[in-house]
């Protein structure tokens, strides 16, 4: 392999031949070299080439933080060691190290790595310091230090781009491992500080941000570049990162100053890579003690006594100095160094003369060779021979923004000398000029790929002064491409509702086996949400642990579910909630997990939390994690992951799996109309439907990816290990596991999808599923085959050969596949393994069938949602800008566009609109899902029909009118066909705007009927009406938005063809000009507006009140309170001032009557209580316990005497109207009452009997009843005398007609009572 490159570079072999060879598909995989008798495998060559470029550029990228890393080739550790130690000096060792890059290529089997790892075991030291952070951050389950071994030998491409240790938690265990990794890192830094080898560099650089700051500014730059997300993920652990917090950093430190390097770099180590110093914690903020300690450690290593703080002060001074010297000339080209970067800063060796150095085209050395390299490299990229094209693109961008080392020693001169005999030993990419030249060349070559990146990236590239100075053409192309870049980030209504609605169809009692199950589920639902809310509140707080806080409750819940056997219900709730919260791009909406800037803009600052994050984002520049972040569970997904883990409930998991599988397979089968099939070029209607299908597709795709990730997570959960098991264990485990059927037949799904050309839907979710694999997973035949299929797909999917329409489809696939090949669970040699070429053949689909793959379904928005790591380019470039133009505000300026969207509408209007949108969403929330589907479907159809209708009516009317006008004008004197054509066209376009109004009217009319027909008859009127109005609005919105965007163009086109036809007709001799003018005068504004009938919601009839009742009677409770008060005064204790006036009692009884009359607020309970209380009140009145006062000044005795009978009469009337239950009246005859009556004054008895009489008169009581009441008193312990009197009286009452005898009996009673009183 080296031989090929060697031959090419020294022009012994025609480079075209090699490129040709690279381009040929599969068959001739090896290139025979007749002159040397070597046969080279293609993948081996690619691997070598990539390594070569990384190695070449490592010095240039050293200060930059990302020397690139080679594709994976296991290297025996021993040799690594040798190579490293000798790396500094001389060709011999260098070549030896290079040889090692590819020598063990034969060991491309999966087991090879283990061998390598095994070998490394004997090498103490090395094994420890590889890339601790990398290994931990990448593993799906954190690995203890032992596993890091592997990385010391087996560096892989991804390692370089690996996210820094702490930016991403491992998807399976969020914390814990970091501490370890830091410790290891520190140990290594301490112990092996003086070693600077390529190998170490590689191993270690994997741990740092691939961005530019690694070798450059550590402290500050790191801080600035740390993504806000880091806070949510990694800084929770107080132990690890004590006071960091996620609070915005102070303005002082947040100033873009990333070039300033607080790392002491001594000039004695010109070729060393200072980046290796602080690699494992690039995201720590400088304030943290750890960081400080590290820096100190680093300083010690180079003998610098300076503390970080001091250094920073120095740097600050230095920076301001340089700012003043901004115009000063560049230094010699031999000391390349990008503008604001401080070069050497070891101890006292501050070199103030360091100046901005601009890469210059004229200073490029080895241009022809660079061209050749670029050509080969581009061929590899274009042919998908590299594992991840975006990784390569990232590498290229890093080169573009690279900072050369400040090497002013002779070595550099050496490397530049043309006398260097070994072409491979020349330093092609050491100098920034060369790097930029190479990068620009590659970018030019790969322009199509670049042009599909987002606008922001393109703009940053176009504005990049290096691009401009090296290739104005490229810059121009980039500027052009910006215009075309179609990133449409439409504001989507955020789902503000976060609960799964209760649907009687699935959730009510009839869906449960028994009451107990039903009620258990009722409780568990509430517990679930309680847990979720608690998580939302606390999960970002330091020291909070999911397991400790929620574990017990969750497991308790599982026990409850198990005992009731209702896991299936809970699984359904769980999944629905998962989908509700995590589907779609706003899944990153949880606090602490900031969405990508674009998404942020898309969502709008609709809540304080988002606004706050936006703020943070504006002051906190992006952190660059590279294009290969490990699989993660962002936002709320984390909750669901932790929940599954913590519950560790096999029943639940099984239900979830079943459900996920079913849903996934259903989604995979979802029929999405292939828009391209129905579209003829620019058919507007097609365009509209195409949009719908696109949206549908992206929603299906995002959902499938989410479900697949969780299916994968659950399926592989039992096998997750914290470290890669030994080879033996892997093999045993693979053999064992291959016997049982996998949860999902991925191969079958994939093959089917390839055959039916639906890979654009299937592959992304399969990738998500596979990304959750444990270490043994890829070794199982089923998954290995699937991976092989994917690999073949990837290799065949050369973007250059993609049709325009599906370029983005393929870009998405290539991107997700490239990402998959770099996740930790996939063996690192996987990509360069040849075995699959023969093992699996991808069926060729039936070319006739139109699958999804050829439909333009993916747009840039979807691409970026699925591959958020693509925005790393922008971050990288932005970081460069902020560095190079720190004075002008740097990165902050670059972020402003995110907030631009808010300016569209005035805030008040916007919030109203938002509120309406939310209300609409809320409306659907508790309705059956079918209602929403119906409304959306009808709206979509009606909207589409409205457009069709406008075309059929308005547009054709307009054409007629235009023709008429044209023919009219033609008769006039100075007629100019083109002028008239123009003016008519403008006229028609103006008139065409009416289409909006007409379409809206059309939607109004049609929506009503359709919705009414399609919804169930039983739908309540209000729901129906609301559905109708929403449908109308949606349909009108759809139609109008399309029309307003397209009507003018449509009319223009129509008019053009009409005009041409007319001209043609006129041109012919027989053309008549008789056109009925009036016929074309169509009243375009027709039809009056029909308002939907105002239907009043059918109100519930109030209970039967008297006719004309206005329900203004006092409330029962108020009257009850008053009566109670009065009674409590009656029974005492009381003071005399509390005694009521007769008029007060009267008024109260009046109110009570009113209250009892109006039934509106009455309940049976309050009615009875009120009546009972009045009876009680009557008792207190007749017994004289409640004396009533006459307050009126002019009262005479008669008035006073008449008062009580009046009140009693009032009461009797009250009872007549509202008959109390007979039991209530018995209080009047209770011994208590009767005794009191007898003990009281004579008048009391009179009143008492008067009341009883009135009751009998009014038919409330029969005389028999009265007597029987009195008769029961014989049982009581009343004085015998009294009983006799009562019996006597009752006999009289029985004999005499009641009214006439009444007074007599009263007399008797009074007479007979006197002796008794006297006796007592």
């Amino acid at each position: 392999m080296a031989a090929i490159l060697d031959s090419v570079l020294s022009q012994r072999i025609d480079p075209n031949k090699v490129v040709e060879w690279l381009k040929t598909v599969q068959e001739r995989d090896s290139l025979p070299f007749t002159d040397r008798g070597i046969t080279v495998q293609k993948h081996e060559f690619v691997s070598f080439l990539l390594n070569f470029l990384r190695e070449q550029s490592s010095p240039a990228l050293a200060h930059h933080g990302t020397p690139a890393k080679t594709p994976n080739r296991p290297r025996p550790a021993a040799q690594t060691g040798v190579a490293s130690r000798s790396a500094r000096s001389g060709t011999a060792s260098r070549s030896s190290s290079r040889v090692q890059l590819f020598s063990p290529s034969s060991s491309a089997s999966p087991g090879a790595e283990c061998d390598a790892a095994g070998q490394s075991g004997c090498l103490s030291g090395i094994s420890n310091f590889s890339s601790p952070s990398f290994s931990t951050s990448w593993s799906p389950a954190s690995r203890p230090p032992g596993s890091e071994r592997r990385h010391s030998q087996r560096v892989c491409l991804g390692d370089f781009m690996a996210s820094p240790p702490d930016t991403q938690p491992s998807p399976f265990q969020s914390q814990k491992s970091r501490k370890k990794s830091m410790a290891v890192g520190a140990q290594w830094r301490g112990g092996r500080g003086s070693q600077h080898t390529d190998e170490m560099g590689f191993g270690d650089t994997g741990t740092k941000r691939p961005g530019r700051e690694g070798g450059g500014g550590h402290g500050k730059s790191r801080e600035q570049l740390s993504p806000p997300s880091a806070g949510s993920l990694n800084f929770n652990n107080l132990e690890d990162f004590p006071p960091v917090g996620s609070s915005p950093i102070s303005p002082l430190t947040s100033k873009p100053s990333r070039r300033i390097n607080p790392t002491p770099v001594s000039a004695e180590r010109p070729r060393s890579k200072p980046k290796t110093c602080f690699t494992s914690t690039p995201f720590t903020k400088p304030g943290s003690p750890q960081m400080g300690a590290e820096v100190l450690e680093g300083s010690m290593r180079v003998g610098s006594p300076l503390s970080l703080q001091e250094e920073r002060e120095l740097l600050k001074r230095e920076k301001s100095k340089r700012a003043q010297q901004a115009a000063s000339p560049c230094l010699s080209s031999l000391e390349p160094c990008t503008p604001p970067k401080t070069g050497v800063l070891g101890g006292a060796k501050v070199t103030p003369e360091l100046q901005t150095l601009c890469p210059e085209r004229s200073k490029v050395a080895y241009a022809p060779e660079l061209d050749l390299l670029a050509e080969l490299y581009c061929a590899c990229i274009s042919e998908n021979l590299v594992p991840n094209i975006f990784l390569e693109l990232f590498f290229v961008m890093q080169l573009l923004t690279s900072l050369s080392p400040d090497s002013n020693d002779a070595e550099v001169q050496d490397s530049f000398s043309a006398t260097n005999s070994d072409v491979l030993e020349r330093c092609y990419l050491k100098q920034v000029h060369n790097c930029v030249y190479f990068a620009v060349t590659v970018l030019e070559n790969q322009f199509e790929l670049v042009a599909h990146l987002d606008k922001g990236t393109l703009r940053l590239l176009a504005e990049n002064e290096r691009v401009a100075s090296f290739s104005p053409t490229l810059r121009d192309l980039l500027i052009q491409a910006q215009g075309k870049s179609s990133a449409k980030l439409s504001p989507s209504v955020s789902t503000f509702i976060h609960s799964v609605p209760f649907q009687p169809d699935t959730d009510n009692r009839s869906n449960f086996g028994n009451d107990r199950a039903f009620h258990t589920f009722k409780k568990q639902r509430d517990v679930f949400y309680e847990v979720l809310r608690e998580w939302e509140d606390f999960h970002n707080e330091p020291g909070w642990s999911f397991e400790a806080s929620l574990g017990g409750r969750i497991r308790g819940m599982m026990n409850q579910l198990t005992s009731a056997g209702i896991h299936s219900h809970f699984a359904r709730l769980f999944l629905k909630q998962l989908v509700q919260m995590c589907k779609g791009p706003q899944m990153s909406g949880s606090p602490g997990e900031p969405p990508d800037a674009d998404l942020l803009g898309m969502l709008g600052a609709d809540s304080l939390g988002r606004l706050k994050r936006l703020e943070e984002r504006l002051i906190q520049p992006h952190g660059i994690v590279g294009p290969c972040p490990p699989p993660s569970f962002p936002g709320h997904q984390e909750f669901f992951r932790d929940f599954i883990q913590t519950s560790s409930c096999c029943q639940l998991n099984q239900h979830l799996q079943d459900s996920l599988c079913q849903q996934l397979l259903q989604l995979d089968e979802v029929s999405i109309l292939s828009p391209s099939a129905s579209i003829k070029e620019e058919d507007e209607d097609g365009d509209m439907e195409q949009q719908d299908e696109k949206q549908r597709f992206s929603s299906v795709l995002l959902l499938a990816r989410l479900l697949a990730k969780f299916l994968g997570f659950i399926s592989f959960l039992p096998y997750q290990t914290s470290e890669r098991p030994s080879r033996e264990i892997q093999e045993t485990s693979a053999a064992l596991r291959s016997k049982s059927a996998p949860v999902l037949d991925v191969c079958a799904v994939l093959n089917d999808s390839v055959r039916r050309r639906r890979t654009i839907l299937t592959v992304p979710w399969v990738v998500e599923f596979l990304s959750m694999m444990d270490f043994v997973g890829p070794l199982l035949p089923c998954y290995r085959t699937a991976l092989g299929t994917l690999l073949l797909l990837y290799r065949r999917m050369q973007l250059k050969r993609s049709a325009d329409a599906c370029y983005l489809n393929n870009l998405l696939l290539v991107s997700v596949l490239g990402w998959l090949f770099h996740i930790p669970a996939i063996p690192e040699d996987f990509f360069f393994t040849a075995e699959f070429t023969a093992a699996v053949t991808v069926e060729d689909g039936n070319p006739g069938s139109a699958g999804l793959d050829c439909s333009p379904l993916v747009d840039q928005q979807l691409l970026y949602i699925c591959c958020p790591f693509l925005s790393e380019f922008r971050k990288l470039l932005a970081a460069f800008v902020s560095g190079s133009t720190a004075k002008s505000g740097g990165i902050i300026r670059k972020i402003t566009p995110t907030s631009a969207e808010l300016k569209d509408t005035p805030p008040a209007n916007r919030s109203q609109q938002k509120l309406q949108g939310e209300l609409e969403q809320a409306f659907f929330h508790n309705q059956p899902p079918s209602l929403r589907r119906t409304v959306e479907f009808v709206a979509e159809r009606v909207g589409s029909n409205a457009v069709k209708h406008m075309k059929a009516t308005l547009v054709s009317e307009l054409m007629e009118r235009g023709e008429t006008i044209f023919r009219d004008k033609r008769k006039s004197a100075n007629f100019s066909a083109s002028k008239v054509n123009e003016s008519i066209c403008a006229l028609l376009c103006d008139a065409g705007l009416e289409a909006l109004e007409r379409a809206a009217r059309f939607c109004d009319e049609k929506s009503l009927d359709a919705v009414r027909t399609l919804l169930p008859e039983e739908t309540s009127p209000t729901v129906l009406q609301t559905s109708e109005s929403i449908t109308r609005r949606l349909a009108a919105e759809k139609a109008c938005s399309w029309l307003s965007a397209n009507i003018t163009a449509l009319i223009r086109r129509e008019w053009k063809s009409r005009f041409d036809r007319v001209m043609k007709a006129l041109g012919s001799p027989g053309a008549s000009e008789s056109v009925d003018v009036s016929g074309a005068e169509v009243d375009l504004v027709s039809r009056d507006q029909s308002v939907g009938p105002e239907r009043k919601a059918g109100g519930e009839q109030a209970r039967a009140c008297p006719p004309g009742c206005d329900h203004s009677a006092p409330l029962p409770s108020d009257v009850l309170i008053e009566v109670k008060e009065l009674l409590s005064i009656a029974v005492g204790p009381r003071t005399d001032v509390e005694l009521p006036a007769g008029s007060q009692v009267k008024a109260l009884l009046h109110r009570a009557r009113d209250t009892l009359a109006c039934r509106k607020f009455q309940t049976a309970v309050s009615e009875q209580m009120l009546l009972n209380s009045t009876v009680m009140l009557a008792c207190k009145l007749v017994t004289g316990e409640l004396p009533v006062l006459v307050v009126s000044s002019g009262s005479d005795a008669s008035e006073s005497e008449a008062l009580l009978p009046d009140l009693l009469e009032q009461l009797a009337e009250l009872w007549q109207i509202n008959f109390p239950c007979p039991d209530a009246l018995h209080q009047l005859f209770a011994p208590l009452t009767v005794t009191a009556v007898l003990q009281a004054a004579d008048s009391q008895a009179t009143n008492y009997l008067f009341l009883v009489r009135r009751l009998v008169d009014k038919g409330l009581l029969s005389e028999e009843a009265v007597l029987s009441h009195w008769n029961t008193l014989t049982d009581m312990t009343l004085p015998v005398e009294l009983i006799k009197i009562f019996q006597l009286q009752s006999q009289r009452m029985q004999l005499s007609p009641p009214a006439a005898e009444m007074l007599k009996s009263i007399d008797r009673l009074q007479v007979s009572q006197q002796p008794l009183e006297g006796a007592s």
């Binding site: 609605p501 508790n926 919601a1097 309940t1163 009452t1233």
Partner: protein
């Protein structure tokens, strides 16, 4: 009248209730002291506080020997002063709700009479209608206790119940006035809902910018304890099923408790006035809304 109290104001009121007994006289003192607060609010706060006090202390009155002590003391005093409100005075003296004291003593009395425990319904009906009590002096004392107690007792329970019902009716009225269509608790129960707020709006509204799906009417004051209990047992359950909603504490609440608005639980002390409904887009509006939407 001020309904939405700050926590400081609330604490002030609570402090004033600490030594009060649940009697007419004490209520009057409270009213005089806080003329700016409605009587219902004060009574509700006092009642809640008094219930808390009772919960703390009731156990010590339930001990058999204590009951016996109360009973014997009652017998002695009633004998000595047959017309005096003996039992009520005793209750106030030992700081036990008069109605509860009545229940204890009546229960003990009935035990003596029948030699065994009587069923609760009998006891309750006697408390409700003391004329059923065979001993007239006791009956009088019992009634004196229950009628004078403003926190416990059958009449108080009935009043509370009535107040609750009335406010639900009022709420439904207001909704109908506003043409807002809704399902009430009874309807929901027949549909098989497992948790049912007083009102579920068929078409949600926005109150002060917050979406509202359901409304719960509470004819009491919303203090920390009761609000927390309601949150756990009702409001969050409603949220879990129907989304965000509105709670109306007709007798006011501690203002600081209204902190879950963004989370989906809104507190009010009256029927809201700032209500936004879904615009029923007529075609006059649609062009505008379309433009806005673009």
């Amino acid at each position: 009248m001020q309904m939405r109290l700050s926590r400081a104001e609330y604490r002030d009121i609570v402090r004033s209730t600490e030594q009060l007994r649940p009697t007419r006289q004490c209520m009057k003192m409270l009213k005089d002291r806080f003329p700016n607060h409605s009587q219902s609010t004060l009574l509700s706060i006092f009642s809640l506080e008094y219930q808390k006090r009772t919960k703390r202390t009731i156990s010590r009155h339930h001990a058999a020997d204590v009951i016996e002590g109360h009973y014997q003391r009652y017998l002695n005093e009633a004998k000595a002063r047959p017309t005096a409100p003996v039992l009520l005075e005793m209750a106030n003296e030992v700081d036990l709700s008069p109605a509860l004291m009545a229940r204890l003593v009546l229960d003990r009395f009935l035990q003596d009479m029948n030699g065994e425990m009587l069923s609760k319904p009998v006891l309750n009906s006697m408390l409700k209608d003391p004329s059923l009590i065979p001993d007239q002096v006791l009956a009088k004392n019992i009634y004196q206790c229950t009628i004078n107690d403003c926190c416990y007792g059958p009449l108080v329970d009935c009043i509370k119940h009535a107040i609750g019902e009335e406010h639900e009716v009022l709420l439904r009225d207001k909704l109908k006035e506003r043409n807002l269509s809704f399902l009430d608790e009874n309807k929901l129960r027949t549909m098989g809902y497992d948790k049912t707020p007083d009102i579920i709006l068929e078409v949600p509204i926005a109150v002060e910018g917050h979406i509202v799906h359901w409304i719960e009417s509470k004819a009491s004051f919303g203090d920390d304890h009761s609000h927390r209990t309601y949150l756990n047992e009702q409001f969050w359950s409603y949220w879990n099923r129907f989304g965000p909603g509105l709670v109306i504490y007709w007798y006011g609440f501690i203002g600081e408790l209204d902190c879950q608005r963004d989370r989906g639980i809104l507190l009010k002390d009256c029927f809201p006035t700032d209500i936004v409904t879904l615009c029923h887009a007529t075609h006059q509006q649609s062009p505008e809304s379309t433009e806005g939407g673009q």
